[in-house]
């Protein structure tokens, strides 16, 4: 490990400690904002872990997020909380394996289409199950958590996600991911087990996303399918990762922070036109900086020099 990495770690460590202390100093409202932001930073980073280098755009973020939240809603009275989280992670993992095994052998577009409808499928199936099998619609979550407790858990998950992303980026799997994003055939002939690596990364990414949903679930107190399977979550995650740059470690963070604040303001100021503004903003990002703002800054710097 060289000096630069060490400095980076020291700096990140200080930032995490400061962030962890923040709820003791700020109001509950701002803790809530910080909580939501941390949730999206984690979602966007986890999303970019797989979809960034491979360019397999997953539109199923909320399918996993919602499954995580629902698992907590169903199990929170049956078993201790850590076990509930473990179950959520397990269910997310199995779901990702099933989706991955059936689509990742094929061209990317099949994966996109499959994930596009997945959230709706899961939402409808869960609703059907609740109505016809368990005879409940909507569930309560009674866990003794305040906002800051949830925030701390999310912060820890965010740190873990960054560490995973950093480690993968430095490992030979990071190189393989970038290679297969460019040309799967070449990567395969260089000895990369393309399907396996895609599957592995998709499972890791989806499991983290499921956990974000699970940890955030107690925030709602009351949960029903239409709340936790809200497609806006998939959309916001995607737009944040793209704005910052999905190919870089810090890209999703750089995109998530300003966009989250913007969305908070928009949803309060223009509740009825929220998704129109969101859609237009998204189209703008795809047009103006398809590789994200960090890449754009790099380009500008290089352009300035020559």
């Amino acid at each position: 490990m060289n000096m630069k990495t060490l400095h980076g770690f020291a700096l990140a460590g200080v930032a995490v400690v400061l962030l962890a202390c923040a709820p003791l100093l700020i109001s509950d409202y701002w803790t809530g904002v910080l909580l939501g932001m941390t949730g999206y930073v984690t979602l966007a980073t986890a999303w970019a872990l797989f979809s960034g280098p491979t360019r397999y755009i997953s539109l199923a973020t909320v399918a996993f997020f919602g499954v995580g939240a629902y698992t907590v809603a169903v199990l929170n009275e049956v078993m201790p909380y850590p076990l509930v989280l473990l179950c959520a992670a397990g269910i997310g993992m199995i779901m990702a394996l099933m989706v991955g095994l059936s689509t990742l052998r094929l061209a990317g577009v099949y994966f996109v289409i499959f994930t596009f409808g997945l959230a709706e499928l899961v939402r409808q199936t869960v609703s059907w199950w609740e109505v016809n099998v368990t005879y409940t619609m909507g569930r309560y979550i009674f866990l003794p958590f305040e906002g800051r407790h949830i925030y701390w858990q999310l912060l820890a998950l965010a740190v873990v996600t960054f560490l995973i992303s950093w480690a993968i980026g430095r490992s030979r799997f990071g190189l393989a991911l970038k290679a297969l994003g460019d040309d799967e055939t070449v990567a395969a002939h260089a000895g990369v087990d393309v399907t396996r690596i895609k599957l592995l990364l998709f499972v890791i990414s989806s499991t983290i996303i499921t956990l974000v949903g699970a940890i955030q679930a107690p925030r709602w107190t009351y949960i029903e399918p239409s709340i936790v399977f809200n497609p806006t979550v998939s959309f916001m995650t995607l737009i944040m990762a793209l704005l910052g740059g999905a190919m870089r470690l810090w890209g999703p963070l750089v995109g998530a922070v300003p966009l989250f604040l913007l969305f908070e303001w928009l949803s309060v100021s223009f509740p009825d036109h929220f998704s129109i503004i969101l859609g237009l903003l998204f189209i703008l990002i795809v047009f103006v900086m398809p590789n994200g703002v960090l890449a754009k800054i790099d380009d500008l710097r290089k352009g300035g020099r020559t």
């Binding site: 577009v109 199936t125 609703s127 859609g279 998204f282 795809v286």
Partner: protein
């Protein structure tokens, strides 16, 4: 039993119709349009407004909305898609860009519909008179929907396979790189294809609104079903889309009738999964 077959064919006919539009957009213009279903829903609401507010018959609405769908899609192509086509280094990059932009478009259209009509169910009653077909009773509007789907879909097939113009479009679908060598303006062909797709989405919307309730947020499901039909039939294959559309309509109706109406989407997905595993290139696709 027969009742379900007829209902399945009605639904399937509409699916085939809209999927033809999507397969033309994807196969010829190379745009994977995730906002397609929302265009259908927009047409549903437009028909609804024309009918309830201006007392305009849906058949007349067809004459207004289909050209409107063409023009709007033509504009969308000129403004949003053309720059993407121009900057894409290869087909894969265009696919990714078009997926992203049309995903944004989805939220814009949905947002507009939500702002105008809210999130509730909408429907209107048109030609709801029972008609006797082969011993079963079918609503008149459903029968009309089937006839319209078959007529318009059939006309489309004739245009694509019997006219010079259709041949040009198919040539672009098969060989986008060599088509210009034969003096074909691929840009114009792609734009036309995208616009035709939009016109067919509008047609589908009008037809669908005659016999089904709809909500502002239902677009995703229609896009999904149309996409599955396109893949089922093989990318860019019009006959494939027709067969697959009818098949999907039948599967859905039978699942709704004999299993549970809440599981239709799950059934559709199951069909999709089985197909992906068995025939990834579609029923009519080339290996």
């Amino acid at each position: 039993m027969l009742e379900h077959v007829v209902n399945g064919l009605v639904l399937g006919g509409t699916y085939a119709l809209v999927a033809m539009g999507l397969t033309i957009q994807y196969g010829i213009a190379r745009i994977m349009n995730l906002g397609f279903g929302d265009m259908i829903i927009a047409a549903c609401f437009a028909t609804y407004v024309l009918f309830t507010t201006f007392a305009i018959n849906p058949l007349v609405a067809l004459l207004i909305l289909v050209p409107a769908g063409y023009v709007v899609s033509d504009l969308i192509y000129r403004i949003l898609m053309k720059p993407l086509v121009a900057r894409a280094p290869d087909e894969g990059a265009l696919e990714v860009d078009s997926i992203l932009v049309t995903f944004g478009l989805l939220f814009v259209i949905q947002g507009v519909l939500l702002a105008l009509f809210g999130g509730g169910y909408a429907s209107y009653s048109f030609l709801n008179t029972p008609v006797n077909v082969l011993g079963t009773v079918v609503a008149g509007n459903r029968l009309l929907a089937l006839v319209l789907s078959l007529a318009i879909g059939g006309a489309m097939v004739v245009i694509l396979f019997r006219t010079r113009w259709g041949m040009v479009l198919r040539a672009v679908a098969l060989a986008p790189k060599s088509a210009p060598l034969f003096g074909i303006d691929t840009d114009r062909a792609a734009r036309t294809a995208f616009a035709i797709g939009g016109a067919m989405a509008a047609t589908g919307g009008v037809v669908l609104s005659m016999f089904q309730t709809f909500t502002a947020t239902a677009g995703v499901v229609f896009t999904m079903k149309a996409l599955i039909v396109v893949i089922l039939g093989g990318k860019g294959s019009v006959p494939g889309a027709i067969v697959a559309g009818l098949l999907l309509g039948l599967v859905e109706t039978f699942v709704a009738a004999y299993v549970d109406p809440g599981l239709t989407l799950a059934a559709v997905y199951a069909v999709f999964l089985v197909l992906l595993l068995v025939r990834p290139n579609g029923l009519f696709g080339k290996a």
